[in-house]
């Protein structure tokens, strides 16, 4: 192992590393803990009394679920193809799909507005079919999908990469064609990773603000509502909304940790000792 500071005694280096780690831990946890401690109870009460907050939460959960469903349906085959097939331009396609992760989210919102706005070809076509995208839940779904689908794609690719191709090879020699192998072997073996990727996507969609606020300010998602309360009524009114959003964020986080840390049986192929 390479020592970063070879001139430092081992014990001092350990104390230094522990100190830095603890500071970062506090920096990440303290604001959230403070927020929940200050307004957690009030936020929970608001769930009963504040109709606008309830509607915002339901809208957020529903649109995030629709966006995640679309992301999973469209992203799974793309992730599989990128991970399993070798074709010219594969790296370029993979990089393009990662791009939405790198651009600022308001910029993503502006880009979506250009493509899906009333003046765009897609927007006009949708309007002619009676579907308004900008300023509607459909716009929220589009914004959520744009910013969070790359996370699903990345997670799904990793999940497929973890499945040894030889499982699929054996299944094919046992008479299954490609699609049947995917259904009977690849999907069950990558399932846990795909669900984890979907949970990450859903959580990211729920927390999205920048792109949504550009494309659909109203109806308000929870993140837009917390911003709206802050700018209209100040910190006091924004705190309960922010606290309840934080508490609800624990839900996907718990699911994710359970999926990641639960024992993954069988992906080792060598067998038990003895």
């Amino acid at each position: 192992m390479i020592r970063l500071f070879p001139q430092l005694p081992r014990s001092i280096a350990t104390i230094f590393a522990a100190l830095l780690g603890s500071l970062l831990f506090l920096f990440l946890v303290a604001p959230i803990a403070q927020l929940v401690a200050t307004a957690g109870i009030q936020g929970s009460e608001r769930l009963v009394t504040d109709g606008e907050l309830r509607r915002a939460l339901v809208l957020t959960a529903a649109t995030a679920t629709v966006a995640t469903t679309l992301g999973v349906l469209g992203g799974t085959p793309i992730a599989f193809v990128i991970e399993r097939w070798r074709f010219r331009g594969r790296a370029v396609v993979a990089a393009l799909l990662d791009l939405p992760l790198l651009i600022p989210h308001p910029v993503a919102g502006i880009a979506l507005l250009l493509v899906l706005g009333r003046d765009s070809a897609v927007g006009q076509a949708a309007l002619s079919l009676g579907l308004r995208i900008v300023g509607s839940p459909a716009g929220i779904v589009c914004a959520m999908l744009f910013v969070s689908a790359p996370l699903y794609l990345s997670g799904a690719r990793e999940a497929f990469a973890r499945v040894d191709r030889r499982f699929e090879a054996v299944a094919r020699t046992l008479g299954d064609h490609r699609w049947r192998v995917f259904r009977r072997v690849t999907l069950p073996l990558s399932g846990r990773g795909l669900v984890a990727a979907a949970v990450v996507m859903w959580a990211r969609a729920v927390s999205e603000f920048g792109a949504i606020v550009i494309i659909t300010y109203n109806p308000k998602t929870a993140s837009v509502l917390s911003y709206d309360r802050f700018t209209s009524f100040g910190l006091r009114e924004a705190l309960p909304v922010a606290a309840i959003l934080t508490l609800l964020a624990l839900l996907p986080l718990t699911v994710l940790r359970a999926l990641r840390y639960e024992r993954r049986p069988g992906l080792d192929v060598a067998g038990a000792q003895g």
Partner: protein, 360 residues
């Protein structure tokens, strides 16, 4: 039948190049080669998993080059089994089974049936190999490809499974191709041996032929021949006094008496028309060791030297004899070595027949 002609494939930077061999219908082929020689890639190319980049492949008389794996009617057993971890042992065996009764029969015969209630992750490496074997055979394919399928079994189980597999092979008339590192296994199982190195076939043919008459000194050394000498050969004229003083050579038609010189040794051999042989190969088992001159021996080659090294491995002992700077290795049973009271530095005599010398 597996008939590969000029077969080529590529996996990353590794290339399988111009591989040609045939395993006749119902025969048992054995692929031998060092680690990284392309044995698994060869099986995967035959199975259609690794794309073929050149040559032709016929399986059971059909052109298989463009056939997907599921249409090749073959079974593949990897060394590590690759049992599906999300399925039970029972479901694994039944995965592609021709009929549930076949799955049950074959699982019982190879000893996998009693494992059916165990979770896959609790199986040992050897048990996984048995289940993987049962799973592949349960489909009743016409060709079975086996990648070191017995490597994790204990010796007793290995022997019984090998015997049962041979029986199933004969009864069902399947064509088998097995990768192994074990020369004994290759000799016991194989009707055809294929020696692979760096993605090329070095030699193929009947195992005995490959072992007795290696095509090159590399093959000879790879197959465990200790005595490989570089030198020059000269064909002796018929009735040559050098050949056997006072005795007619009495060679079969087409065979010649050959004198092979290497260092301090002059070795006599019998060979048919070998063009400029550069190496003489003598298996250590063919070299007879004694502490007295073997006057009455029919062996043509006799050497006197001193014992340079004795190494014992179980029932076999290998003795190196220094003959004026050239080393000859003889193999004998450990019991014989003890009876002879061999010791380093003792004078000893090594002899072997001219027919035991292979020139290449």
């Amino acid at each position: 039948m597996i008939d590969a002609r000029g077969l080529s494939a590529r996996v990353g930077s590794f290339r399988l190049k111009d591989v040609t061999f045939a395993v006749p219908n119902g025969s048992y082929g054995v692929v031998i080669g060092p680690a990284g020689s392309g044995k698994t890639t060869l099986l995967e190319t035959i199975a259609g998993i690794t794309p073929q980049t050149g040559g032709t492949l016929h399986l059971d008389g059909r052109v298989a080059t463009a056939l997907p794996p599921e249409q090749r009617n073959l079974g593949l057993v990897y060394q590590h089994g690759y049992l599906f971890p999300h399925l039970s042992v029972d479901q694994n065996i039944a995965y592609g089974a021709a009929h549930p009764d076949v799955a049950r029969e074959v699982a019982s015969r190879v000893g996998a049936w009693e494992l059916r209630d165990r979770p896959v992750e609790s199986l040992s490496g050897g048990e996984r190999q048995l289940v993987a074997l049962a799973r592949a055979l349960a489909r009743r394919p016409s060709i079975v490809l086996l990648d070191e399928p017995f490597s994790a079994l204990d010796p007793r189980r290995r022997e019984s499974t090998r015997r049962e597999l041979r029986r199933i092979h004969r009864e069902w008339g399947m064509t088998m191709l097995q990768v192994t590192h074990d020369f004994t296994e290759a000799g016991l199982l194989g009707d055809v041996a294929i020696l692979l190195d760096a993605g090329r076939v070095l030699q193929s043919g009947k195992p005995e032929e490959v072992f007795r008459h290696p095509a090159s000194p590399y093959v000879a050394e790879f197959l465990g021949a200790e005595n490989v000498f570089a030198g020059t050969a000269r064909v002796l004229p018929d009735h040559s006094p050098d050949w056997y003083p006072g005795v007619e050579p009495g060679l079969a038609e087409g065979h010649h008496a050959i004198e092979f010189r290497t260092g301090a040794l002059t070795i006599y051999a019998v060979a048919n028309a070998v063009e400029n042989p550069g190496y003489a190969v003598i298996r250590a088992e063919e070299v007879l060791l004694s502490l007295e001159p073997q006057v009455a021996s029919s062996a043509r080659n006799h050497f006197r030297g001193r014992i340079a090294e004795i190494s014992t491995l179980g029932a076999l002992t290998r003795v190196s004899i220094d003959v004026d700077g050239s080393v000859l290795v003889a193999a004998l049973t450990t019991r014989s070595a003890q009876e002879l009271a061999l010791a380093v530095g003792l004078e000893a005599y090594a002899s072997f027949k001219a027919m035991a010398v292979h020139l290449c």
